[in-house]
């Protein structure tokens, strides 16, 4: 379709001789959200990394708009403060939100000047989430964004995703805890076996 942000056709991939995907087809348009479910080792991260362009050995075609990838590794440099980390991301791929605003949104005001190595696991994840606001891209690829987050953090992730959808973006999210998104689609990799 015209406003397609992600088009995957005939995606096949195997690792260590285990077939993870055979002929997966997937389309995401503006405002779509897709939850990726599946048991450990079913290939969620692999798929996301392939879409992001970090994992090349697959067959099939992936057409994707610009994307932001948030993986198992937070992408937050421990030596830098929260503000410095985000400022750097802002320079790489400028979005429309200011660093302070983003930090406030993820509930980390007061931590601008704290080096991330002095933050708790969840606080680091929150800084990583703030990146989604500081940078701008139509497609979000989130790999277990709820990791290490408390209740409020989990609510935050949901509202971030909704915000992205309202803004006309799309979200592909691998998770083990149901997100219960408004008319969000769910792709269960186990069911496909």
């Amino acid at each position: 379709m015209h406003d397609g942000l992600l088009q995957i056709a005939g995606f096949c991939c195997e690792r260590d001789g285990r077939v993870l995907f055979e002929a997966l087809n997937l389309n995401l348009g503006r405002g779509d959200a897709l939850e990726l479910r599946g048991p450990n080792g079913s290939g969620k991260s692999t798929l996301l990394r392939a879409i992001a362009g970090l994992y090349p050995d697959y067959s099939g075609t992936i057409e994707t708009a610009e994307s932001l990838y948030l993986g198992h590794r937070p992408g937050v440099s421990a030596l830098l403060t929260a503000a410095e980390n985000l400022a750097w991301y802002g320079a790489l791929r400028p979005g429309d939100t200011e660093v302070e605003a983003a930090l406030e949104r993820v509930g980390m005001t007061g931590y601008e000047r704290v080096a991330c190595q002095h933050m708790s696991a969840g606080q680091q994840r929150r800084v990583a989430l703030a990146r989604l606001l500081v940078c701008a891209a139509p497609l979000w690829l989130l790999d277990e964004p709820l990791t290490a987050l408390d209740r409020s953090g989990q609510a935050l992730v949901r509202s971030l995703i909704e915000g992205q959808r309202q803004a006309g973006g799309a979200v592909l999210c691998a998770t083990h805890q149901p997100l219960e998104l408004a008319d969000g689609r769910v792709l269960d990799l186990e069911a496909r076996r």
Binding site: L54, L80, Y89, L92, P94
Partner: protein, 227 residues
């Protein structure tokens, strides 16, 4: 997309800040340099004339090795915390931040070593009149060291304990720089003209500035595919 200048500046600033936060780590190579020099004075024996005659070679070799030490961590930490993959995904054109990273690295190791060379020379009884040339060779040669080294670092970043492997990959590439660098000082001590060697060193550095960033860029993409 952001303007090239802004991209470069942001990366450069980031590197410097991170270095300053772990200043001791940044100082390690320098300390290593002097540690090694002291060991040499102790191990090889300290007759001023022999030491003095070999000083150029010793200084340059040790500069190579400590450079190696500095480069080992160039991408390691970014790789571990996942910022490297983000850089590769978001940084466009990638060679700009890469160049910035290497430039910052050079300021911290290469430049610093150059500035400290006189001290090293002093410890090794290098004749005072060869000091200027020593500085000059290091200044013109060290960029090549950092840049070639960056290629190796990028190739080995994904691997556990890449440290010594890195040495294998890049030390052979250091040979010309070493030869011309040390050779020029030796010649200068013999009183002859060394402008040719300086030009050669500069040429090598220029070459590496033009080639290395792209090699690094490719190498990073490759290394990230593993995990």
């Amino acid at each position: 997309m952001s303007t090239p200048g802004r991209l470069f500046a942001a990366q450069f600033r980031r590197e410097l800040v991170a270095t300053m936060r772990s200043l001791q780590e940044a100082l390690n190579p320098l300390v290593f340099l002097f540690l090694a020099i002291t060991l040499f004075a102790l191990g090889v024996g300290v007759e001023p004339e022999t030491l003095g005659r070999h000083a150029p070679g010793i200084i340059w070799v040790l500069v190579l090795l400590s450079n190696l030490l500095a480069l080992e961590g160039l991408f390691r930490r970014d790789f571990d915390d996942g910022t490297l993959e983000q850089l590769v995904l978001l940084g466009e054109p990638l060679f700009l931040p890469v160049l910035a990273k290497v430039a910052a690295q050079w300021c911290v190791s290469g430049l610093a070593m150059t500035l400290l060379a006189p001290l090293a020379a002093l410890l090794l009884y290098l004749p005072a009149d060869a000091l200027g040339v020593t500085l000059l060779t290091l200044l013109t040669g060290s960029p090549a060291l950092t840049l070639f080294g960056a290629v190796g670092a990028a190739l080995t970043v994904g691997l556990r304990r890449g440290g010594v492997l890195l040495a294998l990959l890049i030390l052979p590439l250091y040979v010309p720089t070493l030869i011309f660098g040390a050779g020029a000082i030796t010649l200068a001590m013999a009183g002859s003209d060394v402008s040719a060697q300086i030009y050669l060193l500069t040429a090598i550095s220029m070459l590496s500035v033009t080639v290395a960033p792209f090699a690094v860029q490719a190498a990073l993409r490759i290394s990230l595919e593993q995990s």
